[in-house]
């Protein structure tokens, strides 16, 4: 019998507690109502002795099916079903299926359930969303949705959800909400409709309009049928992330539902009780939903919720109702989600500490899964100020986990947790444990451990010798995994801290003594000795010639990049130690350098040799002076770790809130100001502060509006030329021009920006022949942009008069502290012929002004583009061209916008691709952009990707209005 092969295949999977009662040899055909022909085919395949035989058998079958499909004899539904099943099986084995789609589509319109079902199955497994058949499929779906047969409706909804393409969204997105909230829909249909809608919303949110149905969806949380509630919670969780206000009412409904479940007896919910745990999945989903919102504002709701959370924590301490592992799993699923919610709220110290204690118990649990989850949860708990200390008490257990866990994924979590719980008090212990772990760590996670150690060592260094030792140890233990960022960073820090330079020189000198030392050590050693070798030159054991010959003994074993670095060290030695000059010139002059095949090495040798021969000692000393301190900015290591782990990775260090005193070496991790106060007095014109305007001007009515009020009073004058909004938009891509003009006044702007600084000259021209009195331009900060005005209006202090026909000038110094969305406002008040005049304008300071263009190769561009692939990092707009589509003009605008234009990146030469970094004091935001003109349709598509969501959107909006 062909089916007798491999009798172990008949071993029951044994999900329940049943013993291992072996089953019949031929269960497959004796059970159920399988198709005989299919079974025979499958056993044939399974009996194939070789891959070739399998392919041969499959090709035979494909030929057979193809001939049946093409044959004159019409196939009955049963045969079609059987053949489609065979195709599915063949597909699963990894063979391409290029026919049978039409037959599957035909099955959709069968009125036999099983045929329809197999048709839908084939389509959801095999049909791509771009298939030409989609129209036919949509037609069949439409009929089934309208059939009022719940089984057929569910099949159709499943198909939409599984394919989930835009075409399907366009065809059905409007119908699904109706089906979902219709009073007469069956429960199973409602369930399917909820998840179908969720899928369409995820794929194309624009196709699912919010409407009257949203309120009714929230009330599904009260539905009698738990399956409907489960599906509805998933849907609401997704919808409320983008529209939190529309779904706010779900909080109280979710809390009361949760409360009913948690307080119910273990048998109340009948079928939805899983191993004596009432509705575990629904509970988990409800707890997840609540994590979309802050703690409930309503005291009663909040009280009820806290009660729930306490009940769950209490139940964890009760004896289990069943010994089965399923019981404890389900219970713990709820418990972990409860703890996540407590951590999310981060406002109940009592609950946080209880959560921490509970997790502490799990750290020693015999179930590996629980230890894993406990380590993971504790990681987030460590960053809460309420529980940080409580987490720290588990340090020994966690270190032990790092040493003894058999499973790499658990060890990885332990390393993450150690990183998160690290502070000044335990840094030395944690760093030394991580270093020890590094020696045996899995290759896959070594680089990450290296980054973490480097960051911790830097952040919590009290004395820098410890820091230098740690990094050199890293290179010694795991040199291959020490990336450029790490060893660049140690050089930066040593360069910036003169109290550690001598120690660093001594230590690298010692490290280089090792017969085999890692190339990264040579790089660090070469650089440090080149800068600070003089600090240890007094000791005869490390005299200049000894230093040189030590370095040069490594030279020949090193890569080109390292040799290039060493050549620079040598020329620095000539300056530091004139006595080595002859030796080094000899080395540079050697044929192996001067005629080196590598251009870089050759050039360095030639230039350094000439420099050392022609330049005087003074010139040499100036050229080869010690490197100036590096500017402090975000640690590139931290940035790299974040890239590796996705956003939020460096969180333990990001905020730095636990240890504000720790920023002594690395300016990058010092706490970033979360809000920048905007004291308006500082925005006063200095010149006018001495003579305040007679009537205190009222605050602008609405800071966000562009032109709050132009010239109230009888002499109100409309503005000339472009509207202020238009004028403002023109400044997005240029820095100079007329910002405002009417019958009385013209305001011109000249500005320049460098990095996060800017200077703006404002010119106020009185166009009339009459003097303006009490002329008072002030700058108001509605947002985070703090502007300091250094010089006032150019006129005698104490006066605030602008003569007829005269022009006065005002200079603003601008510093961008962090990214911002709203521009500062310029408010101008004066009296003209006795009538008070006032206007408020947006100052043309937009975030793109702080762009620094970045050139990069296509490969780098695509790599970064991929790194920024989270949906919230991207903003896209498709819009109609408002101006003639001229490539040169577009280019000029993009350059004016501030990004670099990258050629030869986009495969389509019509498209524009750009890159830049927005420089603010607190952080840098890398931006990539792509503009795709479609001349035929007179449309553009603009895509922005940045590491910060609001920035992507804002830049996209600003730029889209330029074309």
């Amino acid at each position: 019998c062909p089916l007798q092969a491999a009798s172990q295949r008949t071993q029951p999977l044994g999900p329940s507690e049943r013993g291992a009662d072996t089953t019949a040899i031929m269960p497959a055909v004796s059970k159920g109502d399988g198709m005989r022909g299919l079974a025979v085919f499958i056993s044939d395949i399974r009996n194939c002795k070789s891959k070739e035989a399998e392919i041969k058998r499959i090709n035979k079958e494909l030929a057979n099916i193809r001939s049946k499909f093409k044959g004159d004899k019409a196939l009955d539904g049963y045969s079609k079903k059987k053949y489609v099943c065979k195709l599915l099986f063949i597909f699963l084995l990894g063979h391409d299926i290029d026919f049978g789609h039409m037959e599957a589509v035909n099955l959709l319109s069968s009125n036999k359930y099983t045929e329809k079902q197999i048709g839908y199955l084939f389509i959801s497994v095999l049909v791509n969303s771009n298939s030409e058949l989609i129209r036919l499929i949509n037609n069949a779906i439409k009929n089934d949705l309208a059939s009022r047969n719940p089984t057929f409706m569910c099949l159709a909804l499943h198909c939409i959800a599984n394919v989930g393409s835009r075409e399907m969204g366009e065809a059905f997105a409007a119908d699904i909400p109706r089906i979902l909230v219709a009073g007469d829909s069956m429960d199973s249909v409602k369930q399917s409709a909820a998840l179908c809608l969720l899928r369409l919303y995820k794929a194309s949110p624009d196709l699912v309009p919010m409407g009257e149905w949203t309120a009714r969806v929230v009330h599904l949380l009260n539905d009698q049928h738990m399956g409907v509630v489960t599906a509805a919670v998933s849907l609401i969780t997704c919808l409320c992330k983008k529209n939190p206000d529309d779904f706010k009412t779900c909080i109280s409904l979710a809390v009361s539902r949760l409360s009913r479940i948690v307080s119910s007896a273990s048998t109340d919910l009948q079928d939805y009780t899983y191993y004596f745990v009432p509705a575990p999945w629904l509970s988990v989903k409800l707890l997840r939903l609540l994590q979309c919102y802050p703690p409930p504002e309503d005291a009663a709701v909040k009280g009820r919720l806290v009660e729930c959370l306490e009940t769950v924590l209490n139940k964890a301490q009760e004896p289990p109702k069943s010994k089965k592992v399923q019981h404890s799993n389900a219970k713990n699923a709820i418990l972990f989600e409860t703890i996540s919610l407590i951590i999310h709220y981060d406002s109940e110290p009592n609950l946080l500490v209880r959560a921490c204690n509970q997790l502490g118990q799990f750290l020693q649990h015999r179930e590996t899964n629980l230890r894993y989850l406990a380590l993971e949860s504790m990681c987030t708990l460590a960053s809460s100020e309420f529980s940080h200390e409580a987490v720290k008490t588990h340090i020994d257990t966690v270190i032990n986990a790092l040493k003894t866990e058999r499973d790499v994924s658990v060890r990885q979590r332990a390393a993450d947790l150690l990183y998160a719980m690290c502070d000044r008090s335990n840094a030395k212990q944690i760093v030394s444990e991580m270093l020890r772990y590094l020696e045996t760590a899995d290759y896959a996670i070594r680089e990450e451990i290296v980054l973490k150690v480097a960051i911790l060592a830097e952040k919590y260094a009290v004395d820098y010798s410890w820091y230098v030792d740690t990094i050199l140890n890293l290179i010694r233990i795991a040199g291959d995994y020490v990336s450029e960022e790490v060893w660049y960073r140690v050089l930066q820090i040593v360069t910036n801290r003169d109290d550690v330079q001598g120690y660093a020189a001594k230590t690298v000198f010692e490290a280089l003594q090792a017969p085999a030392c890692h190339e990264n050590m040579v790089k660090v050693g070469g650089y440090i000795l080149g800068e600070f070798g003089n600090l240890i030159a007094g000791d005869p054991r490390s005299s200049p010639p000894v230093q040189f010959s030590l370095l040069h003994s490594k030279f020949h074993l090193c890569s080109v990049a390292t040799r290039a670095l060493l050549l620079s060290t040598y020329i620095k030695f000539i300056n530091l130690f004139p006595e080595t000059k002859a030796t080094i010139q000899g080395v540079l002059r050697a044929g192996s350098q001067l005629r080196n095949a590598d251009v870089e090495l050759q050039q360095r040798a030639v230039e350094y040799l000439t420099l050392s021969s022609v330049a005087s000692t003074d010139v040499l000393a100036t050229v080869l002076e010690e490197m100036p301190p590096f500017p402090e900015r975000e640690s590139s290591i931290l940035a790299k770790l974040k890239r590796k782990k996705g956003p939020g990775a460096g969180s333990a260090l990001d905020d730095g809130r636990r240890d504000p005193s720790s920023n002594d070496i690395n300016g990058g991790v010092e706490p970033t100001p979360s809000t920048v106060s905007t004291p308006s007095p500082s925005a006063d014109l200095l010149g006018l502060r001495a003579a305040p305007p007679p009537a205190a001007p009222p605050a602008p009515a609405s800071a966000g509006n562009l032109l709050v009020d132009v010239f109230d009073g009888p002499a109100a004058q409309p503005s000339l030329g472009p509207t202020p909004e238009e004028a403002f938009l023109r400044f997005v891509c240029k820095n100079n021009g007329v910002l405002f003009e009417n019958q009385l006044l013209q305001i011109g702007v000249k500005s320049e920006f460098r990095q996060n600084l800017g200077r703006m000259y404002l010119f106020y021209g009185n166009k009339t022949s009459v003097q303006f009195q009490n002329f008072s331009p002030t700058v108001v900060h509605p947002g985070d942009l703090q502007t300091h005005i250094l010089s006032g209006v150019a006129q005698p202090p104490g006066s605030s008069l602008v003569d007829g026909g005269a022009q006065v000038q005002q200079v603003l110094n601008i510093e961008c502290l962090r990214d911002f969305l709203t521009p500062p406002l310029l408010s101008v008040r004066f009296r003209y012929g006795g009538a008070p005049q006032s206007l408020t304008l947006k100052l043309p300071v937009t975030i793109n002004k702080f762009f620094q263009p970045t050139e990069m190769a296509a490969q780098d561009f695509f790599q970064r583009w991929k790194q920024l692939s989270l949906p919230q990092q991207e903003a896209q707009k498709i819009f109609k061209a408002n101006h003639p589509m001229d490539a040169e003009v577009t280019k000029a605008k993009l350059l004016g916008f501030g990004s670099a234009l990258l050629d030869n990146v986009d495969p389509n030469p019509e498209n524009f691709v750009g890159a830049g970094i927005i420089q603010t004091k607190a952080l840098q935001v890398g931006c990539l952009l792509r503009l795709e003109p479609n001349a035929q349709a007179q449309m553009y598509r603009l895509t922005l990707r940045t590491s910060k969501e609001p920035v992507s959107r804002h830049l996209c909006e600003l730029l889209a209005q330029q074309f």
């Binding site: 999900p15 399988g34 079974a39 099983t114 899928r199 399956g227 899964n369 499973d407």
Partner: protein, 163 residues
């Protein structure tokens, strides 16, 4: 969200693969291969949660698996799912298979891949958990079986049906 559900044998033969995100056929096969490689070399009693492979999401996606006798059941999920919740869902899936096939074994899954899909369809839809109540799922499947019986009265062991 559940990104993919895979069932394969101890030898790495895939008996079921369901992707809830579009991947090309080649990538699907590569993912199956990579997943088998990740999971099969792990001891029993280690953690059932892993970070995803290179092809499917890396750190944002988790791989949650269970090993039953000769089969691996693997769910790829993103961070919005509870690990233990999915871990139990696999159990529910297998228990449901066991009820529907009466003592399920690997051969059942091989010969009735359509049925396995149909059971899965009752539990997971478009990557989201649709129903967790085993009795409800079994009832649905029973109804389908009855429908099937009523629709086909042809004897299954006819000679004409051997191909």
């Amino acid at each position: 969200m559940i990104k993919a559900i895979l069932i394969f044998s101890n030898q790495g033969k895939p008996w079921l693969s369901k992707f809830y995100q579009p991947y090309s056929e080649d990538t699907q096969q590569q993912i199956i291969g990579e997943t088998f490689h990740l999971v099969s070399k792990r001891d029993e009693n280690v953690c059932n949660f892993l970070e995803g492979g290179l092809l499917i999401g890396r750190s944002d996606n988790k791989l949650i698996y269970r090993h039953y006798a000769t089969l691996y059941f693997v769910f790829y999920v993103d961070s919005s799912e509870s690990e233990l919740g999915i871990f139990d869902l696999i159990q529910v899936f297998v228990e449901t298979l066991d009820k529907c096939f009466e003592n399920v074994c690997e051969l059942d899954l091989i010969f009735h891949v359509d049925k396995v899909h149909n059971i899965l369809v009752e539990m997971v839809m478009g990557g989201m958990v649709l129903e967790t109540n085993m009795n409800e799922i079994v009832t649905q499947i029973d109804t389908q079986n009855k429908l099937e019986k009523s629709e086909y009265l042809i004897p299954h062991f006819d000679n004409h049906d051997r191909e």
